[in-house]
C-alpha cells in the first residue's frame, strides 16, 4: 500500500464509488435491455359500463359449446365436465369453481342451501330454493332466487328476475325485463328495464303541466352561469307548487317541496330532499344525502357521494333509462328505478 501513488489511489476510489453508485441502476439496465413490462397499460376495459358483459360472454360460450341444444354434451371443448341438473339427474356435491359448468335443464328446484361453485345456465324458468349460493348465473327465462340466496359474481335473467328477502347480490345482477327485489336484500350493481322493490304500490307524481305552477323567482344573489343556469351561495328551497325553469347549483342544501317542478338539473353541496309529488326533469347531484320521498319523480341520473334514499318514488321512466349512483343506496317498498342502480359500497332494500 505504501507504493500506491495518490493518483492511483484516487482513481481506485473513484472507480469503487462509481461502481457503488451504479448498483441501483443494475435493475434499470436489465429492464431497459430486456424489457419485461414495456407494453401499454390495458387501459380500455371492455366490461366497464356494460353490466351484462359477463352474461353476454357466457351466452356466446354456451352457444359455442352447444349447451342450448336438445342434448347437452358431457364435456366442454377444453375437457371440463358439464353437469346437468333436472328432475332425473342430481348435481354432485362438490364442483370445481373455475372449470365445471352446470346446466339446469328444467325448472326442478335446486336443493336448499346448495352451493354452485361453477357458472350456471338455467335453460328454463329457475325457481331457486332457500339459501342457494350461485357463483354466476344465466337464466334464459325468468329467475326467482329463494330467500337467503347469494350471488357471488353475476346473475342475469332474460326474463323477469325476482329476489326474495335476505338474499345478497354481490357483483352484478341484471335483467332484460324487470328486477324485483323483496325487502332485506343486499346488492351492489343492478341494471334492468326497471328495478322495483315489492311490498308497496308506487305512487306516481301528478301529471299536471309546469304552467300550472307558479314560476319560482330566482333568489336574490344567485349568479347566472348561463341561460337558465344559476349558482346560489346558500341553501335553496323551492316552495310547494312552484316551478323552477332551469338548473341550479346550491352551495348549501336543497329542498323541493310537495308538488314543485324543476325543468333542469340540481346540484347541492349539502343534502337534497325531494318531497312527495315533486318532479325534477333533469338530474340531481349532491355531496350529501339525497332523499326522494314517496310520489316524487326524478327523470335524470341521481348521483351522490354519500347516500341515496328512495321511497315509493320513480326515477327515470319507461322510455328513458337512467342511473342511481352512490356509495350507499337504500330502497324502500315501492321504489322504482328505470335503469341502473350502482352502489359502490352497500345497497339494500329496507322494509
Amino acid at each position: 500500500m505504501e507504493s500506491l501513488s495518490p493518483l492511483v489511489a484516487f482513481l481506485f476510489l473513484l472507480v469503487v464509488m462509481l461502481a457503488w453508485m451504479s448498483v441501483p441502476l443494475v435493475p434499470s439496465f436489465i429492464e431497459l435491455l430486456r424489457p419485461r413490462d414495456a407494453k401499454p397499460l390495458d387501459a380500455v376495459g371492455t366490461d366497464a359500463g356494460n353490466l351484462s358483459y359477463f352474461a353476454e360472454s357466457f351466452t356466446a360460450r354456451c352457444e359455442r359449446e352447444g349447451l342450448f341444444g336438445s342434448v347437452v354434451p358431457p364435456y366442454l371443448e377444453d375437457g371440463s365436465p358439464v353437469y346437468a341438473h333436472s328432475a332425473r339427474h342430481r348435481l354432485p356435491k362438490q364442483l370445481n369453481a373455475f372449470t365445471d359448468l352446470v346446466v339446469l335443464m328444467d325448472s326442478t328446484p335446486l336443493p336448499a342451501d346448495a352451493t354452485l361453485n361453477a357458472e350456471c345456465l338455467a335453460r328454463l324458468t329457475l325457481r331457486g330454493s332457500r339459501g342457494v349460493t350461485y357463483r354466476a348465473l344465466l337464466g334464459q327465462r325468468d329467475v326467482l332466487l329463494g330467500a337467503d340466496s347469494t350471488v357471488m359474481r353475476w346473475a342475469h335473467a332474460r326474463g323477469q328476475f325476482k329476489v326474495r328477502s335476505g338474499s345478497r347480490l354481490y357483483g352484478r345482477a341484471t335483467s332484460d325485463h324487470d328486477l324485483i327485489l323483496d325487502t332485506g336484500v343486499l346488492f351492489e350493481r343492478l341494471d334492468a328495464h326497471a328495478v322495483r322493490v315489492s311490498g308497496a304500490v308506487t305512487v306516481e307524481a301528478p301529471k299536471y303541466l309546469t304552467d300550472a305552477c307558479d314560476v319560482f323567482q330566482i333568489p336574490e344573489g344567485a349568479r347566472e352561469m348561463g341561460p337558465l343556469h344559476w349558482r346560489l351561495d346558500r341553501d335553496l328551497q323551492i316552495p310547494a307548487m312552484a316551478s323552477l325553469l332551469g338548473s341550479m347549483v346550491s352551495i348549501g342544501a336543497i329542498v323541493i317541496d310537495e308538488g314543485a317542478r324543476v325543468t333542469g338539473s340540481l346540484k347541492a353541496h349539502g343534502d337534497v330532499l325531494v318531497r312527495s309529488g315533486a318532479v325534477v326533469g333533469g338530474s340531481i347531484t349532491a355531496r350529501g344525502r339525497i332523499t326522494i320521498e314517496s310520489g316524487a319523480h326524478v327523470a335524470g341520473p341521481v348521483i351522490t357521494e354519500d347516500c341515496v334514499v328512495i321511497e315509493a318514488a320513480v326515477v327515470g321512466n319507461s322510455t328513458t333509462r337512467t342511473t342511481v349512483a352512490s356509495p350507499l343506496i337504500q330502497l324502500y317498498p315501492g321504489a322504482t328505478i328505470f335503469g341502473a342502480v350502482m352502489a359502490s359500497e352497500k345497497g339494500q332494500t329496507l322494509g
Binding site: P35, D37, A38, V44, G49, D191, M225, G282, S283, S344
Partner: protein
C-alpha cells in the same frame, strides 16, 4: 456587502420555502392516493338520456394518425343521433384534408369535417370557429393521435349531468411505451401525473387540470367564461383557470383512459415541454392576481392549489435564483446563523425532498398494478434533468412573460407508421 448578503439570504429563503411547499404537496398527493378515498362519483353512470355531443379532432398535418382516431371514434357506443364527429383541418399540407373528405363521404352526417384555410392559426382559434357551427350541449376534444375506447365518450360526458361541472378530463395512456428509453420514462411520468397528481386533486376537491385533449367542456360554461382565448399559448390551462375563477368545477376521471403517442425523440420532447412551460407561465402571469384576490369566493385550498398549479413551470427560475444566492453567500464567506440546523435541513431535503417526485411515480405504478416498469425509476433523473433544462429555457423566454399572439401550429412530431390493433395492449392495469 451587507445588503448583498441580506438580499441573497432573502432570495435563498424564498426559494427554499417554495421548494418545501412543492415537496410537501408531492408527498401529500401521493399519500392521499395510497391511503385516501378514491373519489369518482360519475364513473358508474351507465344509463341516461345522453346529451347532444360534438367531438372535435383538431388536425394539422396529421395524415399518419387521423384515420386511427376517426375509426376509434366511429366505434364508440354513444347514441348515433346525439353524436357529431368534427375533425378540423387547419391548413394541412399533407393528405389530412383528403382523408377527412373521404370519411365524410363514407359517414355522411356522423363525420362533419371543418376545413380552415384562413383566420388565426392554432388549436384555440380552430376550435373556436368550429364550435360556433355546432350548438351541441357538450364538446369533447381529442388530439388526432388519440385512440379512444368504445365507452370513453359516455364516460367523459357523464360528469356533465352535474350542473356545476364545466369541464372534464380523462387519463392519457402512452401507446408506444416500448419504443425507446424516452417513451418508457414518459410512461412513468404520465402515470405519476394522472394516477397520482390529477386524481389526488380530484379526491381533495382541488383543481384537476383540463388538459386540452381526452376531455371536454360544457358549451354554456365555455360561453360563460368568454370562449377560447385565441392568444393563449396553452389554451387548456387558460380555460382551466378561467372556469375555476367563474365557479365551475373540473372533474378528472381516472378510469376514462385514452391511448396517445408520446414523443420518441428528445428534441420533440424538449419542444413539447417548452410549449407547455411557456403556456403555463403565460397563464400564471395572467391569472395569479385574480386567483389570489379570490373574487370568485373559492375555498382557500382551491386558491392555493391553483397558484401552485400555475407556478409549477416557474420553479426552475426560482432554482436559478437559489443557486445564485447560494454562491453569493458562499463566496462572500457568509456563515449561516444556525449552522447545524441548516446542514440538517439541507441533508433532509436531499434525502427526502428530492425524491418526492420519484415517490409519486413509484406509487402511481404500484396503483396501476405495474410490476417491472418501476425498475426504470432511477433513469428518471435523466428525464428530469432534460425537463429542468427545457423548462428553464422556456421560463427565461419572452413568450412566457410578455404579451403576444401565437401565429403558428405547435404540435408534436408523429412517429406512427403502422396501425395498431384495438385491444392489443395487455400490460397490467
Amino acid at each position: 456587502m451587507t445588503t448583498l448578503i441580506a438580499l441573497a439570504n432573502i432570495g435563498l429563503s424564498m426559494t427554499v420555502t417554495v421548494l418545501a411547499i412543492y415537496t410537501v404537496r408531492h408527498y401529500f398527493f401521493t399519500l392521499n392516493r395510497i391511503f385516501g378515498r378514491h373519489r369518482q362519483p360519475f364513473v358508474d353512470i351507465i344509463q341516461a338520456e345522453w346529451p347532444s355531443l360534438s367531438v372535435f379532432v383538431p388536425a394539422h398535418n396529421e395524415s399518419k394518425v387521423i384515420r386511427d382516431s376517426l375509426d376509434a371514434l366511429l366505434t364508440c357506443d354513444y347514441p348515433e343521433g346525439r353524436l357529431t364527429i368534427v375533425p378540423i383541418d387547419d391548413r394541412s399540407v399533407d393528405d389530412t384534408r383528403q382523408i377527412l373528405q373521404e370519411y365524410a363521404e363514407s359517414y355522411p352526417g356522423r363525420i362533419q369535417p371543418f376545413l380552415r384555410d384562413g383566420g388565426i392559426p392554432g388549436k384555440a382559434a380552430a376550435l373556436a370557429e368550429a364550435m360556433e357551427r355546432h350548438p351541441d350541449e357538450i364538446f369533447l376534444i381529442f388530439d388526432a393521435d388519440y385512440i379512444p375506447g368504445i365507452r370513453l365518450l359516455k364516460q367523459l360526458v357523464a360528469p356533465f349531468f352535474d350542473p356545476e361541472v364545466g369541464a372534464v378530463m380523462g387519463r392519457v395512456v402512452p401507446l408506444n411505451v416500448g419504443t425507446s428509453l424516452l417513451t418508457r420514462l414518459l410512461d412513468l411520468e404520465r402515470a405519476g401525473g394522472y394516477q397520482v397528481d390529477q386524481q389526488a386533486r380530484m379526491n381533495l376537491r382541488l383543481v384537476p387540470q383540463y388538459g386540452g385533449t381526452v376531455g371536454g367542456v360544457r358549451r354554456i360554461a365555455l360561453e360563460n367564461v368568454g370562449g377560447w382565448n385565441l392568444d393563449a399559448l396553452a389554451e387548456d390551462t387558460d380555460l382551466t383557470v378561467r372556469l375555476v375563477l367563474a365557479g365551475w368545477e373540473i372533474v378528472y376521471q381516472n378510469r376514462s383512459e385514452c391511448y396517445e403517442e408520446v414523443p420518441e425523440s428528445w428534441e420533440s420532447r424538449i419542444r413539447q415541454i417548452k410549449r407547455w412551460a411557456t403556456g403555463h407561465n403565460q397563464a400564471l402571469r395572467r391569472y395569479v392576481t385574480a386567483l389570489i384576490l379570490n373574487r370568485g369566493r373559492l375555498p382557500a385550498w382551491k386558491v392555493i392549489d391553483g397558484v401552485l398549479l400555475l407556478g409549477v413551470f416557474a420553479v426552475p427560475l426560482l432554482l436559478l435564483l437559489g443557486w445564485t444566492c447560494t454562491m453569493i453567500l458562499f463566496y462572500t464567506g457568509y456563515r449561516p446563523a444556525w449552522g447545524v440546523i441548516t446542514v440538517l435541513a439541507i441533508s433532509s431535503f436531499n434525502t427526502v425532498g428530492n425524491f418526492a417526485a420519484f415517490f409519486e411515480v413509484a406509487a402511481a405504478n404500484r396503483l396501476d398494478g405495474s410490476r417491472e416498469r418501476i425498475r426504470m425509476l432511477p433513469f428518471l433523473f435523466l428525464s428530469f434533468l432534460v425537463s429542468t433544462f427545457a423548462v428553464g429555457r422556456a421560463a427565461l423566454s419572452r413568450a412566457s412573460w410578455m404579451k403576444g399572439r401565437p401565429v403558428e401550429w405547435q404540435k408534436t412530431e408523429r412517429h406512427r407508421s403502422t396501425r395498431p390493433v384495438r385491444g392489443e395492449p395487455t400490460g397490467g392495469a
